[in-house]
């Protein structure tokens, strides 16, 4: 589905320092079930994400497990092909402007020429459609450092082969020139010639990550995707690696996409931050603004729950409930199921009735069917009328939040069946909250 409204990237860079543009990126994994393994649904790991990557800076991609940050990283590094939208590399001058304009044209209003323009642009700049020279150029310029320092180095290869392999694959050097270049790379990351002829299992966790970084620098790339590079390391070793990454960025002008769940690490390392929740961008902006004035309730809860040395202990009530299933993301704002300040317009739906009342004794014991007109409108049929009345009563009581109560537009009991209709609400878009600061929330907190 091409977006009718113009895609508003969470973070917009100006023309000259744009390295990479992510536009409405989607990645859905099919769920197969039953004897015939037919597709019954999709895990919508990444569900429409757009932002720009500024050259020479670090963009922090942060969120809890299952929010889609790793999948997004794999799409950007070309390891996984997206199912929607795209990652655009090497856009020069006004090409980005033309691309955004073309992407904004709704499907039915496309003319022959606009379609051809878009196809041409995508052929030479969209990562999953590139081939030949543009692909080779992108491949050299985007490298990755992985989290598991054990499984990211081939246990059967010597360090010389691991770090030297990119150079051999691209025929940059061979023989003793190759060895010298490898030694140079090793010294750049704090190792040396004596480590050339050793196997990965002979190194500590921190040293293995240094080898991984040396390999990533071999083709001197512009962008390095760091997928939780220090999560498996101890504090003192993590400090060594973070310092090293920072020095390399200053020296080589690298751009980092830093993926992590650790908020203190992202605050320390990132210039801009994108906070993800259930496959979409909850909030994005400069690091300082986000940490001082979080606009999205989820960001605020995330900051409050993660322990931080500088801050007095948090007094905020920890979040209720758990992360919703990415195969059935909540309507409206995806955070409304757990949000302490949810409004009636935040996307209350039929599923919320189940989420809220399933833990109340006896509410759904005799439920034998739900017929849905839409995610907001359904008939719940019970075996006996008492249960139906009990549900209707519960929907008027404080068993459910006040905002959810006022979102109920129609509640009629017909014998053993209850009809509930919530206000239909569109998906909550990202709204600009200041210079280079956007959040996907209806409330204006300023």
């Amino acid at each position: 589905m091409t977006a009718a409204a113009p895609i508003e990237p969470a973070l917009r860079s100006n023309e000259d320092d744009l390295l990479l543009a992510v536009r409405n990126l989607q990645k859905h994994f099919p769920i197969r079930e039953g004897a015939l393994q037919k597709v019954v649904g999709h895990v919508r790991a990444v569900d429409g994400v757009s932002f720009d990557l500024r050259r020479g800076e670090t963009l922090g991609l942060v969120g809890e497990s299952g929010c889609g940050k790793t999948t997004l990283g794999r799409c950007i590094s070309g390891l996984t092909d997206p199912t929607g939208g795209g990652v655009y590399f090497g856009l020069e001058g006004d090409q980005r402007g033309r691309l955004d304009a073309l992407l904004a044209v709704p499907e039915d209003q496309h003319t022959e020429s606009t379609r051809a323009d878009l196809a041409a642009l995508e052929k030479s700049h969209r990562v999953d459609l590139m081939s030949g020279d543009p692909w080779r150029r992108y491949r050299r310029n985007c490298q990755v450092v992985f989290q598991e320092s054990f499984a990211s180095l081939n246990p059967r290869h010597l360090v010389k082969d691991i770090v030297g392999r990119p150079l051999r694959v691209h025929k940059e050097a061979s023989g003793s020139a190759l060895t010298e270049r490898v030694v140079e790379l090793l010294e750049q990351v704090g190792l040396g010639r004596q480590h050339l002829y050793r196997y990965p299992h002979q190194f500590s966790g921190g040293q293995r990550q240094r080898i991984s970084i040396a390999r990533a620098l071999a083709l001197d790339p512009e962008l390095v995707v760091l997928d939780e590079p220090t999560s498996a390391l101890d504090v003192s070793v993590q400090a060594q690696i973070l310092n090293l990454l920072h020095e390399l960025q200053q020296e080589l002008g690298l751009t980092y996409l830093f993926i992590t769940h650790d908020l203190s690490v992202v605050r320390h390392m990132a210039d801009d931050i994108v906070v993800m929740y259930v496959g979409k961008v909850a909030e994005a902006g400069r690091t300082a603004t986000i940490f001082e004035r979080p606009e999205h309730p989820y960001t605020e809860a995330l900051l409050a729950s993660s322990p931080d040395l500088d801050r007095e202990t948090s007094v905020l009530e920890p979040l209720e409930g758990s992360i919703p299933d990415p195969a059935r993301p909540p309507e409206g704002c995806r955070f409304h199921t757990r949000c302490p300040v949810a409004t009636p317009a935040c996307g209350w739906e039929i599923d919320d009735i189940v989420r809220r009342l399933e833990d109340v004794e006896g509410t759904f014991d005799t439920l034998d069917g739900v017929t849905r007109e839409s995610p907001f409108d359904a008939w719940l049929s019970f075996k006996d009328e008492a249960a139906a009345a009990n549900l209707a009563e519960a929907l008027r009581s404080d068993a459910i939040p006040a905002s959810m109560q006022s979102a109920v537009e129609e509640l009629t009991v017909d014998g053993a069946r209850v009809r509930v209709r919530f206000a239909e609400v569109a998906e909550v878009p990202l709204t600009v909250r200041g210079a280079d600061h956007a959040a996907a929330c209806l409330l204006d907190r300023t």
């Binding site: 590094s77 070309g78 390891l79 080779r136 491949r139 050299r140 985007c142 490298q143 990755v144 992985f146 989290q147 598991e148 054990f150 499984a151 990211s152 180095l153 081939n154 246990p155 059967r156 290869h157 010597l158 010389k160 392999r165 990119p166 694959v169 691209h170 010639r193 004596q194 002829y197 050793r198 196997y199 299992h201 002979q202 190194f203 500590s204 040293q207 991984s212 390999r215 071999a218 083709l219």
Partner: protein, 308 residues
Amino acid sequence: MVDVPAGPLPTRVADSALRVRARRGGELLLALLKNPTTVAGLVFIVLLLGMAVFAPLITEPNTPDAYQMPRDWGALAVPPGSPGHPLGTTNVGGDVLYGLVWGARTSLRLSVIVVSLTVFIGVTVGSIAGFKGGKVDEILMRIVDVFLSIPELIFALAIAAVLGPSFRNIILALAVVFWVKYARIMRAQIIHVKENEYVDAARVIGDSSWRIYFKDILPNSITPVVVQATLDMGNIVLVGATLSFIGLSEAGIAEWGVLVSEGQSGISAGRWWASTFPGMMVFLWALGFNLFGDGLRDVLDPKTETSR
């Protein structure tokens, strides 16, 4: 649970990849020799292979065909220890010692041919299934499942029976039955290894999927195949001898299964040696390779390998 850090081992500055790989090989051998059962297995194997290789020196090869048992009509069914026949003779005058020594050579031939054949076919099919995935994987694995649903010995028996009794047919029957094991092991390993991040890392530097297969996936998937091949060097002789015992080989050849079968008729009359000694050889051969294979699995098992 014991969080003892692996830490860098103090190794001298090695100047060449060859010396490091040699030292690594040395480390593996050392670890192998630490386990007594593995050493016992190795001893059996060396003895049996020695017998097979030096057969012509130990006993005079029979003319015209060394693999036919020589007949000493003058000494029918003599007990062990009689002159000229240290281990006695069969009821048709065949020297038991000759049978053991040349039987070792037949077994070596059988196991080497069948193992190399089955490993080659199995690894190829397994790699295609594991690497390609999808429909191809589905079909190949169904075929493998069908082959595996017929018990090994019965399947080999049926094939050998249809092809007619001969040593060559036993080799063919065993090859048809045993390759599926390797296909299944190889496929499982490839799917497991494909998930490792170093395969993603190789894709990120732009290496071709063909080279990634040979450089990253195959070397890290081959260990269980090597272990199974070692075990099968023993098991194949075991099943082969059983087929010969049942009667699917050529009578009169120096093969342990045949000797046991021919010696069987003398048992009720108390002539035990003609069956016991060849049977014991089959057991030692299978035991040796099984013990060594088991030790190899512990040493090459990735979990223990990386934690050393």
